[in-house]
Symmetry: C2
Subunit: 339 residues, 2 copies
């Protein structure tokens, strides 16, 4: 209720010096048993909690890492931060998590906050892969790990998924089921996932000598609405594709919504695969075949890399490390061959 007790209050109550209290609070040992007990009792009685602020002030570290994701409501990121936070807590690191809402500007603000608060490291899925706006972080000498999207202008550790590979497998799967008229809902081509998944699509198509039609390339923005719009456009195309590959989870949601809306029958009339599994995949009538990945792992690995940098006083290896997790295809029922 009243003001918070300080280490000095404890010292007074236990009749020792602050230095001694500090020793027991930090478990440094070298304190007589009896003294320690007296101090512990005083701590309890006063409800003393040591101030992380004052501590950070002198230690020059906060045991805190900043995390930036583009969207709280995307389940993919929920899983990632879930894994990340658990790993961090295990090493006694605390996580600050913020969403940029895919805005570079907001991301900059968040970064400012993080630097002011002295985070020891940063994990970021950036809204802008050029990444100039991360300059302050670099300048401050704060280690960074990029997740899912790269930071092109800087040599930072990166955790990625085999985007190209995953898309390639998905499209190949479609082809193996007899499809040749395949459309793609692309993500923003300025982002690694957007571009790479397109490249995977492209590779598969080329490998089998299949034409990539202009009207079968939908430009999406990784949001639901664009998935819906693209699917609709495909339906209205001069020639309809027989299969669709969607580049991320939210666009898949939108696309499926559109297919249902148009009564364009999945599997029977239009095959479908999407990148990143979604909850509805196993609920709707023909279950959806999807490219999936170990999301929590992404978060865990990201923390490992960062932790490494943080304790190794940054200078150990200046080489950028890249970790690529392989996605995997979950074959269900939405890509049946049909004639």
């Amino acid at each position: 209720m009243k003001k918070k007790p300080t280490i000095e209050d404890v010292a007074k109550a236990a009749n020792v010096s602050v230095a001694t209290v500090s020793r027991v609070v930090n478990r440094q040992g070298g304190v007589r048993k009896a003294t320690e007990e007296r101090i512990v009792r005083a701590i309890d009685e006063l409800n003393y909690v040591r101030s992380a602020i004052a501590r950070s002030m002198v230690r020059k570290e906060t045991k805190t890492i900043g995390v930036i994701i583009p969207d709280f409501t995307n389940p993919f990121f929920s899983e990632v931060i879930s894994g990340l936070q658990k790993s961090a807590l295990g090493q006694n690191y605390f996580t600050l998590i913020s969403s940029s809402n895919e805005s570079k500007m907001i991301e900059s603000e968040i970064i400012q906050h993080y630097i002011e608060r002295g985070v020891d490291g940063l994990v970021v899925t950036t809204a802008d892969e050029k990444g100039d706006h991360l300059d302050p972080v670099i300048k401050a000498g704060i280690p960074i790990v990029a997740v899912d999207r790269q930071l092109k202008n800087y040599e930072v550790d990166t955790v990625l998924t085999g985007n190209r590979e995953g898309a390639y497998e998905a499209v190949k799967h479609l082809i193996s089921r007899g499809h040749t008229d395949i459309a793609i809902i692309r993500g923003p081509q300025g982002t690694t996932p957007g571009l790479e998944r397109y490249r995977g699509f492209e590779r598969a198509m080329k490998e089998y000598d299949l034409p990539i039609r202009e009207e079968w390339i939908g430009e999406g923005d990784f949001m639901e609405g664009s998935g819906f719009a693209c699917a609709k456009r495909f339906y209205e195309a001069s020639k309809r594709p027989t299969a669709i590959f969607s580049s991320n989870n939210k666009m898949s949601i939108g696309a499926v919504k559109a297919l249902q809306h148009l009564n364009w029958k999945i599997a029977e009339e239009i095959a479908f695969v999407g990148f990143d599994d979604i909850e509805i995949a196993t609920f709707i009538k023909p279950n959806l075949t999807m490219v999936s990945r170990h999301m929590r792992n992404l978060g865990e690995i990201a923390f490992q890399l960062l932790h490494d940098r943080m304790k190794n006083n940054q200078e150990v290896s200046t080489v950028k490390r890249q970790h690529i997790l392989s996605p995997f295809l979950i074959v269900r029922d939405s890509c049946q061959k049909f004639y």
Copy 2:
């Protein structure tokens, strides 16, 4: 790269005193234009960022609020924190968000972290509504706002949903469609949402003089698995219900999974309503009728209440304020009357 510049470095570079630098950094005015410009230039050149830590140290406030939710991967909470964080940022407050995973122990740890870090306020959806473990927060004089679940042992501001009311409406809707044999998948009866939603169910049943059968009461834990199990039990009951009310989103997911698995046809053979809308609701064949609520609002209001307390130096009103948001029924196709 090297060590971070301090206010003193800036002062030296601009050839002024630290006090003056502080004035311009904090926009307090009373500094000659020319001087200010000189300082700003120095700040830019040195990449100076003021240390929130040192600042908090003397101001005795961190402009930071702690948030505890039970589960990152529950979309309900994603929405809530999304709204919360946006409101907070608007008032220049920073949010620390952590998940307790429904564990009281983890929640305690998080609380410890928060107190150490000197949060100015706390927003919590607790894993244990008795809330004794929040004692340290109370003792530290940190204002609290409870969201979605109460803290029974303390008089703190609370934001709730009309749980009873929502459940009541849902069940009445079922009844109005001709159902009399209604089962419920309950949440933990030790939680406000769990208990209140049951009470709503009960009230509707009593009002219409319908029997509540033992075997039609499923004990769930708000997690997917229990929803699945309960639905299965209903199916195997000596007498099958014709309608199911599920008490939360995750259990609804599980229940629907079970219904599909059992090939127990929704709407045709078994009506269904659930509390909290879910994405699959509009995807599966008969669209699911659901009780929904303005989730982002919950977060926004929570912040309002907290903000109020924080600036009013806590003593203005010791009265506990309670804010109840009304849920609303979204009628779709899963409760058709059938005979």
